[in-house]
Symmetry: none
């Protein structure tokens, strides 16, 4: 009998012991009876999201968790930062990471970050979308990102990402013309288009009232957009196209733009339930309910993404991380109670985020799998330390979906 698969992804789950938690990690310190009970009848291991020693981003890690090799398919940060900023990319789209910056009348860069002031930048993004939503027949979209950053997406047939940056990388130099990086006609066309776009952006921004206000306030004007990291969104293998695996209908529950975008690209039906914020204050119950509904609707694979663990880690707050895990444990108990017979459950994270240094690290991520038939470990807790003792051993992110598909009776053998 085929089973369904529920993958619970605590973003940045793994951690290191901290003094604040008396030498324990947040996962160790958390009072999480439901997850620990699942551990007592499941099997543990650790995951290297990409490969040992490689620090994953959330995007590359999620690609790996769903069976792709990010070293082969990742198109650079441009497209995925655009997705994180809210863009919905299609294969062929070329995306850039951008900065609002300050140039003088000769286009010499005075400040690569427009003084780091966000004042009015939301408005300017709106203006750009309205005034320069198209160039030479190509659609152009602008998405505000954190601080002075934005993402710029160009859409149309015959674009290339083999073009150089307009961002000189240093101040006191003129913005660079984008140049084609190979001999393809599409690269020449794209570079020329970028240069015309940059000129038009400067023309629209330099006299805009937002910038007059900024100058009056003593801020530097945001009168140019510096572009870098061109990347072309490839067509990614969908989750339902996994070789020898029968996952036809997959759903994801997430409130994080980047994860929603990545799972959508991979063919998941994506839901963000009301109350889900992607932060520590998220309505975990609403997210769990959404996952339960997908299980009830016979989704083959449901991915439940919980972001709070990562947020707390980046803020260097191990106690908040612990509390978030406890909140999720309570919400998850319902699933663990009602679905044990027909669902293979995996709990892990996309990467480790150390709440000591506030950054992603390459530490492997704890993994707990429950399936009725699994070889039980007899470990009665789930933590970084117990996971290292588990029978699953150390596997890679890209192995996980196959392992789960096997346990769920959804994989055909390779060969005869």
């Amino acid at each position: 009998m085929r089973k369904q698969i529920l993958l619970v992804g605590f973003d940045g789950l793994g951690d290191r012991p901290s003094a604040e938690l008396s030498g324990r990690t947040p996962l160790e310190a958390a009072n999480k009876p439901s997850i620990d009970w699942l551990a007592s009848i499941g099997a543990q291991g650790v995951i290297d999201p990409i490969s040992p020693g490689i620090i994953p981003g959330s995007d590359t890690a999620h690609l790996a968790l769903f069976g792709l090799d990010p070293f082969k398919v990742y198109p650079g940060r441009g497209p995925f930062e655009a997705i994180g900023a809210g863009a919905e990319l299609e294969p062929g789209d070329v995306a850039f990471r951008g900065n609002f910056a300050t140039v003088d009348e000769k286009l010499v860069v005075i400040d690569r970050r427009a003084g780091r002031s966000e004042y009015g930048l939301d408005k300017l993004v709106e203006v750009l979308n309205k005034e320069i939503g198209e160039i030479d027949g190509f659609k152009v979209e602008y998405y505000k990102a954190a601080e002075h950053r934005l993402a710029v997406v160009i859409r149309g047939v015959g674009l290339s990402d083999k073009v150089s940056d307009t961002d000189p990388g240093v101040e006191g130099e003129k913005i660079r013309p984008s140049l084609p990086l190979d001999n393809d006609a599409s690269s020449k066309r794209t570079a020329e288009l970028i240069n015309r776009l940059t000129e038009r952006i400067n023309k629209v921004l330099r006299d805009h009232e937002v910038n007059r206000e900024r100058i009056e306030m003593g801020l530097k004007p945001a009168n140019i957009v510096l572009l870098r990291g061109a990347g072309k969104m490839p067509r990614l293998r969908k989750i339902y196209e996994l070789e020898r695996v029968h996952i036809e209908k997959a759903g994801a529950v997430s409130a994080t733009a980047l994860i929603k975008g990545v799972t959508k690209l991979l063919g998941f039906h994506v839901i963000r339930p009301p109350g889900a914020t992607g932060g520590l204050d998220t309505d975990v119950n609403a997210k769990v309910r959404a996952a339960v509904e997908m299980l009830d609707k016979e989704y083959d694979l449901v991915y439940l993404h919980l972001k709070g663990t990562d947020t707390a880690s980046h803020d260097r707050k191990p106690k908040d991380k612990k509390a978030f895990i406890e909140k999720c444990d309570a919400a998850l108990s319902e699933i663990f109670r009602d679905f044990l017979d027909r669902v293979v459950i995996a709990i892990t994270g996309d990467h480790t985020t150390s709440s000591l240094i506030g950054q992603h690290t390459s530490d492997p991520v704890p993994l707990l799998i429950y399936s009725k038939e699994i070889f039980q470990d007899m470990l009665d807790r789930f933590s970084e330390r117990t996971a290292r003792l588990g029978s699953i051993g150390r596997i890679r992110g890209s192995d996980l979906i196959y392992l789960l598909a096997d346990l769920a009776g959804r994989q055909e053998k390779f060969g005869a």
Copy 2:
């Protein structure tokens, strides 16, 4: 001093705990003093035959165990199913999986499996070999497989496997013409040849007395062969060509057509001693004697394949699997006694076959290695559970032959 290598491959060795064996696996429950004694002076680990989570076939697993990457070299099931049915393939041969099926006079498929009756099919295979052993100068061979299945091999220069199936996959549709899947002239030629072959097969079978008898008996006539899964046998790297490894003379003892074929393709001298059946009733002593003879004849590597563990697992009989392991343990004691000084001994399997579900799974396979110089684990039993604790850890199938070659003093370092 260089040593010889003996690799004992229990087909489908790994398993999961079963109620029938009081919560133990067959390997755990088996009374196997010789193997357990070897464990007390050896080292253990677990093998992912291909990679974690991937369910191996016996063919892909054996390719990996002898150092090949099946993801790179595996040509699809056609050629290996043909080998399993008894064909001896050469590089360049194109093989298909086939079904005897029933079509009406307009070649619409009435039953894709000719009613699943095997009556007379042996005879029809014989007839096809006699009547259509050649087409357009290409040799054609037919091999009976299980039930309504057969393998069809086409031999000659300039064939292609980039051709579509004639099997429509459903009933009520006409058989499909095989079409070339690329622009190569050889694909066009092969597709045309397949279509002429299909016509001739129908002509030979439709009025054959076997089919008249089948109809009289109320069975559906087996009046066509549906072909699918074309694959061209590649030239596989021989075991004696392993980079930096000195294994010149390799032998295999097996009674299973697929394993005999695969090891032969890889350059092994293959022996099937009298009394070896490939089943639970096989004469294990005869197989062990054949392996001992090869060791006496200074073979560098001897592979002893024991199929009964897999057979019992597919039949969901954990107790039979346990009993077969016990029978082999007794037979193997002689080798373990006499060859410890000059032979590196490894005991493992090509994959796990769960005797609960009767199928291959991706669970890693226990591995035990003895060599006079090995770092001993001090574990006094060999089982799925002890193997997970062993010092070898978790390795891949394709690592094993290198590990053994190193222990045997048969590997040169990679680099200076």
